[in-house]
């Protein structure tokens, strides 16, 4: 289960980012196969694979593709979300740097399925080296004739804003605006980039597609759980012996991931808490890590798989201080469009700060919980819900640590 390396199979080769290396290991064969398939058959194969979006929301990929309106005759766009910014996540950086052609091949196949003639790849502005690598691969793919024959790729660089990872914020940004998310519906598949039907998918999601076409949806489905196929790349950081990116079946447990792959907990060696899916995922206590890492497994555990960014905290870590860092992030990144998010993220940050600085008041914890809960579900996008996850879970699960600071 843990030995399966599909996306990362070439990562150890120093030349893994080159077209020559990619082709030498079977690259672009799936694209050749897909060209003989009807677009709908490609989508069916992806549906059968139980591939679910790996950017955060976990939506079934084949189903999303099937939402492109059937009668639509104008342009359709494929947009790749390479705005990786969820704290604790770094897998897309590896994919862009070490296997950019896998993404390009996946894009060619996905574009055929949804009948897109243009693909945009939105790379976060800070990722300069990943952008250079990917851009070089795009040029190789044009020179080799994979691109430019019915499908073009535009590489677009962001300019620093976490919210542009949210798919409609990303679309606004791609359109040359500030990255304000848009009200849904209409969903991007109906009315997305530049007003046209658009599929937004994560780098890792699309990098899986060539393997699914090559080896079949059933093969991929069997790698995972009943409701989610495949492996995924787990970004593991914090207090572990071997932080890094690990590919494993989504059916791996959090305990296996921490102990077997990442070498166990460091610090004082005893686990206090772990964030399993990027900073927006509610924290789990040490006694809650016997869960599988698939979308439904973590949802049933009251948290989320998100971007699979796993941040490990040992007993010596102060949870209030960790929440302060997280709350500062959400206060800084709120785009300001929706009042509950703009106001709550700012005020909650200030309240957590005063608690950590020893100026907390008795009623502060309940005020934070109340404010957090009231805003949940009321905003245009899921950013605020992603902030509420840590606010509630850190305080509810480690309340005594906060109270100790207030009592001082």
């Amino acid at each position: 289960m843990t030995g399966e390396r599909i996306l990362m199979r070439n990562f150890d080769r120093p030349d893994s980012h080159t077209l020559a290396a990619y082709r030498a290991t079977g690259g672009y064969a799936a694209w050749a196969k897909a060209q003989g398939m009807e677009p709908a058959a490609i989508t069916e194969e992806v549906k059968a694979s139980n591939l679910r979006g790996l950017g955060g929301a976990g939506f079934p990929t084949g189903t999303k593709w099937s939402f492109i309106p059937k009668g639509h005759t104008g342009p359709v766009y494929l947009v790749i979300n390479a705005d990786e910014g969820e704290p604790g996540t770094f897998k897309d950086r590896y994919l862009l740097e070490r296997d950019p052609h896998a993404l390009l091949e996946g894009m060619l196949i996905a574009a055929r399925a949804i009948r897109a003639a243009t693909g945009f790849v939105y790379i976060r502005g800070e990722y300069v080296e990943p952008w250079r690598r990917f851009d070089a691969a795009v040029r190789e793919a044009y020179d080799a004739g994979y691109l430019g024959k019915g499908f073009d790729v535009v590489v677009h660089r962001g300019a620093g804003a976490y919210i542009c990872g949210e798919e409609t914020g990303l679309i606004s940004s791609l359109e040359g605006k500030k990255g304000w998310p848009k009200v849904k519906p209409p969903f991007p598949a109906i009315k997305g980039a530049f007003g046209m039907p658009t599929i937004v998918n994560n780098v890792e999601t699309i990098s899986h597609v060539p393997h699914i076409i090559d080896r079949g949806g059933a093969w991929f489905a069997a790698l995972g759980t009943r409701t989610q196929g495949g492996t995924r790349m787990f970004s593991v950081s914090g207090r572990v012996a071997r932080p890094g990116v690990y590919e494993a079946s989504v059916a791996i447990t959090l305990r296996q991931l921490i102990d077997d792959l990442a070498g166990g907990v460091t610090g004082n060696g005893r686990l206090k808490g772990v964030v399993p899916g990027g900073s927006s995922a509610p924290i789990l206590r040490a006694d809650e890590i016997d869960v599988t890492m698939d979308v439904d497994g973590l949802r049933n555990a009251g948290t989320m798989a998100g971007s699979a960014g796993v941040v490990v905290m040992d007993e010596t870590v102060s949870i209030p201080e960790a929440l302060l860092v997280v709350a500062r992030f959400y206060a800084h990144e709120s785009c300001g469009q929706c009042t509950p998010c703009r106001e709550s993220t700012g005020w909650i940050y200030k309240m957590v700060r005063r608690i950590v600085e020893g100026r907390g008041r008795k009623e502060d914890l309940d005020t934070i919980l109340d404010v957090a809960r009231r805003g949940a579900g009321t905003t245009i996008c899921a950013f605020y819900d992603g902030a509420v996850g840590p606010y509630l879970s850190y305080i509810e699960k480690f309340r005594d640590e906060f109270e100790a600071l207030i009592a001082k």
Binding site: G85, P87, E126, E129, V325
Partner: protein, 160 residues
């Protein structure tokens, strides 16, 4: 409208046109062109905003709204080098505070400020997504990983 005091070269203007043609609506090229403008003029002044607005036939107010939304556009002159230390969760757990404190002392400036000689602008930033090598920072285009105060000193020595 006042005459702009900034101007792209002919070659740069051709690049602007090429970028604009990549998008179904040329406005899509606004962020890339603002990156170009910052590279060319050092930072994004109101004059630069106005100039870019003209190139897109947009209002300067729209361009201003975009420029102020994103963190990578500098609205004041920056140092010859930008040192941006991640202070998000994994870097926090790995001692980002020590690294930031060390940089403040060594450079003699607070976060957000530029050294008087114009050499370095110091920033604290949110997750740069290299958490496996925390604590880390970005120095201009490069990621500097697995930082220690000693390593930071060596990196600073290389910045002229």
């Amino acid at each position: 409208m006042t005459a702009s005091r900034v101007q792209f070269s002919g070659e740069q203007l051709a690049e602007v046109r090429r970028l604009q043609a990549l998008y179904p609506d040329r406005r899509g090229a606004l962020l890339p062109v603002l990156h170009m403008a910052q590279d060319a003029f050092g930072w994004v002044s109101l004059d630069v905003e106005e100039y870019v607005a003209e190139l897109f036939d947009l209002s300067p107010a729209h361009v201003h709204e975009v420029v102020t939304f994103y963190t990578l556009y500098f609205r004041q002159p920056k140092g010859r080098h930008v040192v941006a230390v991640c202070h998000n969760l994994s870097c926090h757990l790995a001692g980002a505070k020590t690294i930031l404190g060390h940089l403040k002392t060594r450079l003699g400036v607070e976060v957000g400020a530029t050294t008087p000689d114009g050499r370095v602008t110091l920033l604290a930033v949110e997750c740069l997504c290299a958490c496996e090598r925390a604590p880390m920072m970005q120095v201009d285009d490069r990621y500097e990983l697995d930082l220690t105060p000693e390593k930071v000193d060596r990196i600073l020595e290389g910045l002229r």
